[in-house]
Structure formats: structure tokens, C-alpha cells
């Protein structure tokens, strides 16, 4: 048994969902048993298809189709959609929430949830834009934002992993208190950034593409490598899939859980830098409802809310889907109510699609 629960190296089955690799999950989630290669039924076409296009990649494929469809809708309804300017605009708009979503994806795959991401962004943005911090210039501001984000994330992690408080409650409490700290620090005023080099983070471009986009791309690539090509990533899947089995397999589950929230905090710190540069200000009301945006992106990206299975690539596609929808809405000057209804419907449809796929595939 203990042999089975040890997650096998990723090279065994690079694209397969974690459950298929972990014997423990096979035991606890019988419905997923047949996802893995089934020695009893070699050569079945379905199995071969799954081997070529594992489940979560098929889901990502579905999202790519959705994105292409949105592209068609955008192009048909607005002349301004398919321009390089607008594509860059969509990518830039996706950058902040994209970076937050990287951290959120790790946390959710690891079996947790982080409701405090928006508040962490707020407190980091406020802290790095106080008059005192701005007097240290660009370096001081970057340092402050990232350290504040990391510290709050670490505190979340310690409370959840070692204080044994449920993640939902811990991060809910942090959501309230971190925003409170932000309000107190800023006295509820918008703090305009006067350090020019800081604002240039949002305006500087390389080959016509803003630095923010490169920053997001870099973090997504790093995140993908960390999740899919390292022991840390495999442990994340294992801890999220079945923490008890992961513990028996010799993984320091608590330490790992703590690190996941720290990672999310770091992402929030970086996102705070990006958002602050983009809005040229720090304010306690920045990042409002970003927790919902990032969780929605992770879920439509095909990651299980229960943890143990997921795809970072899918999450980023989820972010792009939402950003593109907003863009198309504004290009066509649709009213807020219609935008909200449509967004809600899209989340529902995406989750329903995910469920029917999930139900169909093991058969």
C-alpha cells in the first residue's frame, strides 16, 4: 500500500491527472479509477485517445475553442477587435489577474482556497505607495510590495497549516483584516505614485508589447515548470488529492501547505506592483473582488475546487476568456447589467461542460 501511495515520477505519465498516478486516489475516488491506463483493456480506442489527450488537456482544448469563438464574435461585431493594439490591450488587462491566478491555482490544486488575494493586493499596493516608502524610490517600493504580499501569504499559511484553521475561514478573516490594514495605512485615500520609474513598469514596452505582459508570461512559465516538472509540483497534486496518503508517503504536508499560501502571497505582491503601476496609485479599494475573478478563472480552467487535479494552462486560458469577454462587451458598448448576466452564464456553462466531460470520460 505504502508503495502505491508514493507519487511516481512525472515522466511516467507526463500529462495524466494526478489521481491516475497516485494509488491512494484510486482507492478513495473509485469513479476515477479507469482514467489511468487500464491493463485489463489494452488497445481500447478510448484509452489510446486519453493517453494522447489526457483529460485536463482536452478541457484546455475546449477553452481554446471558446477563446477562438470569442475571437470570431469580437471580429464580427467590432472593427477594432482584431487589431494588434487591442490584442495587446487584452493581454495587458489580463496580466494582473493572471499573476494572481497562478498562485490561486497552486493553492486550489493543493486542496485549499485563498479568499484574501484581493485584500493582499490592496495592502501591498498601499504599503508600497506611502510617502515614506516612495521616498526610497523604485527599489524600496518593489521590495515593500513583494515582502508585504509574501508576509501576509506566509501568515495565512502558518494559520492554516499549523494553526489548523480551515483555509476558507482563515483567508476570509484575512480578506477583512488585510483590507482594514490597507484602509488604516492609507487613511482611505488614493495614494498617487510620484516615482516615475515605477509608473514606467506599466508604460514601457519591448517590441511593442508592454513589460507587464512579459512579466505575466514569465511568471506563468515559471509556475508551469514548478507545477509540472518539479517535486514541489508533484507534492502539490498529492497533498491536494489526499493529504493523509501524502503524509504516509513521507511528504511534510503542513510545511507544503504553508508554502502554497506563501507562493500565493508572493504572486499577490508582484500583482500589486503591476496594478499600482497600471493605476499609478495605491488605494485600499484596489483589487476588489479579485478573489472571485481568480477563483472563477481557475474553475473554468478545469481545476477541481476540491483539489488534487488541475491545470495552470487552463487557469490562464480562463483569465483570457474573461478578459476577452469584457473587452468585447466594451467594444460593443453593452450596458453593465448585460455584461454581468453574460459573465454569470459563461461561468455556469463552463462548469457544466466540465462536469459532463468528467462524467463521460471514465466510461
Amino acid at each position: 500500500m505504502s508503495d502505491q501511495t508514493t507519487p511516481r515520477p512525472a515522466e511516467d505519465a507526463p500529462g495524466l491527472p494526478a489521481q491516475a498516478r497516485s494509488g491512494a486516489d484510486v482507492a478513495t475516488r473509485p469513479s476515477l479509477v479507469k482514467e489511468g491506463p487500464d491493463p485489463g483493456r489494452p488497445g481500447s480506442g478510448r484509452q489510446q485517445l486519453l493517453r494522447l489527450f489526457p483529460l485536463h488537456q482536452m478541457h484546455s482544448l475546449g477553452l481554446v475553442v471558446v477563446l477562438v469563438l470569442l475571437g470570431v464574435v469580437g471580429t464580427v461585431t467590432s472593427d477594432n477587435f482584431l487589431t494588434s493594439n487591442n490584442i495587446v490591450n487584452i493581454l495587458t488587462s489580463a496580466a494582473v489577474i493572471g499573476v494572481i491566478t497562478v498562485g490561486q491555482t497552486f493553492v486550489i490544486i493543493g486542496g485549499g482556497i485563498d479568499l484574501s488575494v484581493g485584500a493582499i493586493v490592496a495592502v501591498a499596493s498601499v504599503w508600497c505607495t506611502t510617502v515614506a516608502t516612495q521616498s526610497y524610490g523604485l527599489g524600496g517600493m518593489l521590495f515593500t510590495a513583494v515582502v508585504v504580499g509574501s508576509a501576509v501569504g506566509l501568515l495565512n499559511g502558518i494559520l492554516i497549516a499549523y494553526g489548523r484553521i480551515v483555509a476558507f475561514i482563515t483567508t476570509l478573516a484575512m480578506m477583512a483584516s488585510a483590507r482594514g490594514v490597507a484602509e488604516r495605512l492609507s487613511d482611505r485615500q488614493s495614494q498617487v505614485v510620484t516615482v516615475d520609474s515605477f509608473n514606467r513598469i506599466a508604460t514601457d514596452k519591448f517590441l511593442g508589447i508592454p513589460l507587464l505582459v512579459y512579466l505575466m508570461a514569465g511568471i506563468v512559465v515559471l509556475g508551469w515548470l514548478l507545477l509540472n516538472r518539479t517535486t514541489f509540483g508533484r507534492r502539490t497534486f498529492a497533498v491536494g488529492g489526499n493529504p493523509e496518503a501524502a503524509r504516509l508517503a513521507g511528504i511534510a504536508v503542513r510545511r507544503h501547505t504553508m508554502l502554497l499560501y506563501l507562493l500565493s502571497g508572493v504572486c499577490c505582491g508582484v500583482a500589486a506592483v503591476m496594478l499600482t503601476a497600471r493605476t499609478t496609485s495605491g488605494a485600499s479599494n484596489l483589487g476588489n473582488l479579485y478573489e472571485l475573478d481568480s477563483i472563477a478563472a481557475v474553475i473554468i480552467g478545469g481545476t477541481l475546487l476540491a483539489g488534487g487535479r488541475g491545470s495552470l494552462f487552463g487557469s490562464i486560458l480562463g483569465v483570457l476568456v474573461f478578459t476577452t469577454i469584457t473587452n468585447i462587451f466594451v467594444l460593443n458598448n453593452l450596458t453593465t447589467d448585460i455584461q454581468e448576466i453574460a459573465k454569470g452564464l459563461i461561468i455556469l456553462v463552463a462548469v457544466l461542460l466540465q462536469r459532463t466531460r468528467g462524467a463521460r470520460s471514465p466510461a
Binding site: 515614506a132 495605512l185 488614493s190 497600471r278 496609485s281 458598448n333
Partner: protein, 340 residues
């Protein structure tokens, strides 16, 4: 060990970074106008105050100005309730103030309709209510209403835009509108005033999108609007706080072919207008000093006096404040009244 030292070091540096004071910025933007009220001390009045959470520059200024104004009077004690954006919690807060038997109440409801019944309850208990800005559903629920003119704000923004465009000789302008939170009554009134005033000049809004009164929502919405219209002539942005983000989006897109009018009247916006370096050329004020005036009215009502220079013996039942248009020419006059 090294990590610990590093953490300690960053902790020290960070704690030094929380300060927001910088010599010149004495943030008490409460003006010296109050001394002018020239009223002699009278009967002692306890004023209860309830407003939404001060999570926004304008709203923060409301609470601050009210408190500062009360501090000007030796015969007033001020009892603010904790600000909240939950109407249920605000009803409880007002109930507490009624139970404390304050002499006069100043209430800025998060939602006028939702707080009407508690306002009426206070009036029934013999406590006069000054309804600040967001109006109650029923005039029985307040003694006096004082607030801004949202419709007029839209009208004045439109008139500035019309005047400027006519002077430039633009006949078919592309006009954009970045509204505030769309489900608030005040947003609807502002947009209606804007639209109707533009229509009189034969102009119309080409693109209207709503943000959330926050800098990040303003940035997000404006960056998309700029893609939607490759050429604009004029933009009205309802709120200067979200305007920080709107302006950032304009700069990041490198656009400058149009001019913009702001709203509410923040210090930052007025400084931009004064510097005349960007697209922002004017802002229509939604005076945050109204809460100070409300406290003055509360005191007068509590003491049974009328307003100084008016002939009437009593304070009027309704006072609508003017939404002035601030441009480079008169910005110095309004800068002291701006909120940060």
C-alpha cells in the same frame, strides 16, 4: 538564521514605510470657512452622525469634514457611528444613536430607500434628522435634506463639453462617458443630466461604460474604451478617484487627441487641471463640504435658530448644493475645498 536576520531587517524597513506624512501635506482639508458662521455659543447640542464606510476619497472626506466642523463649536458634542456599507448594519447604528437620545441626527444613508423607516422612527421619537445627500423615500423621515445635485453635475459637465467643442468648431463629436457604480441612483441621475444637456446641443454619447469608483476599475474600463473608439473628442468621467486609473489608461495608451472632464473634485484632479499638462481640463464638483454644512444645520435646528442671513426663522426643509465647474481659471478658488 540568515533568513531570520533578513526577515527582521525587512520588518524594520517596512515599519518605517507606513508613514504617510510629508511636511507640507497637512491633510486636514477642512477649511476655515466655518469661522464665518459667526454664531454665538448657545444651548448644548449632541449630534449623532451615521454614514457609509469611508472606503473612498469622497466618502472619507464626508466623515472627516463633519467631525472637524463639529469640533469648531464649543456647544456641540459629536457622536459618530461606525461607517458601514451594509444597510442592515446602518439601521442598527442609527437605532443605537436614537437609543442614546442624541439631540439631532445627521444621516447619509448607504441607500436612501432602505434607511427611510429608521429615519421616520427617529423623527417620531422627537429627534430631528438631517438627511445628507442620498435622499430618503419619504419627506416625513427628515427635517431637512441637504445634498448635491447629481442631475446638475451631468448638465454642467455637458455644458462645459459643448462650449469647448463649439469653440473648437467640432460638429459631429465622439463623446465618451465613464460612469460610476451603475446600480446607484446618483449614477443614473448624472448620466441622465449629461445626456439631456448634450441632446439640446444636438450631441449624443457615443460610448458609455460604468466603472466602480475605484482606480483599477477606471483603468480597466478606459483601456477598453480607448480600443473601442480610435478617436474621441471629449470624455466625461463621473468620479475623480476612479479618474486616477482613467488617466493612467490614457497615458499608457499614449492618447491625447481629446479632453476630459472629471467629477466630484479631488485634490489630485484639481492639481492636474491647474498644471494643464494632461487631458483633464475641468471637473464638476460634488461638494464633500456638504457634511460640514449638515452639522451646522443640525446645530441650528437643535438650538431652534434659522440660517444667518436668511429672513426665515427656521432652517429650510431642503437645500440643493450647486455643482460648480472647476477649470484652470478658477481652480485656485476651489482647491482648498477639494478632498484627497
Amino acid at each position: 538564521m540568515l533568513l531570520g536576520a533578513g526577515a527582521l531587517g525587512s520588518g524594520l524597513l517596512l515599519s518605517a514605510c507606513t508613514s504617510n506624512s510629508n511636511g507640507d501635506a497637512d491633510k486636514a482639508n477642512v477649511k476655515a470657512t466655518t469661522a464665518a458662521s459667526g454664531s454665538t455659543p448657545g444651548k448644548h447640542v449632541t449630534i449623532g452622525f451615521s454614514a457609509p464606510a469611508a472606503d473612498h476619497g469622497w466618502m472619507a472626506a464626508i466623515t472627516k469634514n463633519a467631525k472637524a466642523q463639529a469640533g469648531q463649536y464649543t456647544d456641540v458634542s459629536f457622536q459618530p457611528a461606525e461607517g458601514t456599507n451594509d444597510v442592515n448594519a446602518q439601521i442598527s447604528a442609527v437605532q443605537t444613536l436614537i437609543d442614546k437620545k442624541v439631540d439631532v441626527l445627521v444621516i447619509l444613508p448607504f441607500d436612501g430607500k432602505a434607511l427611510t423607516s429608521i429615519g421616520a422612527q427617529a423623527m417620531d421619537a422627537g429627534i430631528p434628522v438631517i438627511n445628507l445627500d442620498r435622499v430618503f423615500d419619504n419627506s416625513l423621515a427628515y427635517r431637512t435634506w441637504i445634498g448635491g445635485d447629481n442631475y446638475g453635475m451631468g448638465v454642467n459637465a455637458a455644458q462645459y463639453i459643448i462650449k469647448t467643442l463649439k469653440a473648437k468648431g467640432v460638429s459631429k463629436p465622439v463623446i465618451g462617458e465613464i460612469a460610476g457604480i451603475d446600480n446607484l441612483d446618483l449614477t443614473k441621475q448624472r448620466s441622465q443630466g449629461f445626456k439631456e444637456a448634450l441632446a439640446k446641443a444636438g450631441f449624443s454619447v457615443s460610448i458609455r461604460q460604468a466603472a466602480q469608483f475605484t482606480a483599477d476599475s477606471g483603468q480597466q474600463v478606459m483601456s477598453n474604451v480607448l480600443q473601442a473608439r480610435s478617436k474621441l473628442d471629449a470624455v466625461w468621467n463621473h468620479d475623480d478617484d476612479q479618474g486616477i486609473g482613467v488617466e493612467a489608461a490614457i497615458k499608457q495608451a499614449g492618447r491625447s487627441e481629446f479632453f476630459m472632464v472629471g467629477g466630484a473634485g479631488s485634490k489630485h484632479a484639481m492639481q492636474e487641471i491647474k498644471a494643464d499638462s494632461g487631458v483633464l481640463k475641468a471637473t464638476v464638483i460634488y461638494p464633500s463640504s456638504m457634511s460640514a454644512s449638515a452639522v451646522t444645520l443640525a446645530r441650528l435646528i437643535g438650538q431652534g435658530k434659522g440660517i444667518g442671513d436668511l429672513v426665515e426663522q427656521e432652517v429650510p426643509t431642503s437645500i440643493t448644493l450647486f455643482s460648480a465647474t472647476v477649470t484652470k481659471d478658477n481652480v485656485d478658488q476651489y482647491l482648498p475645498l477639494s478632498f484627497t
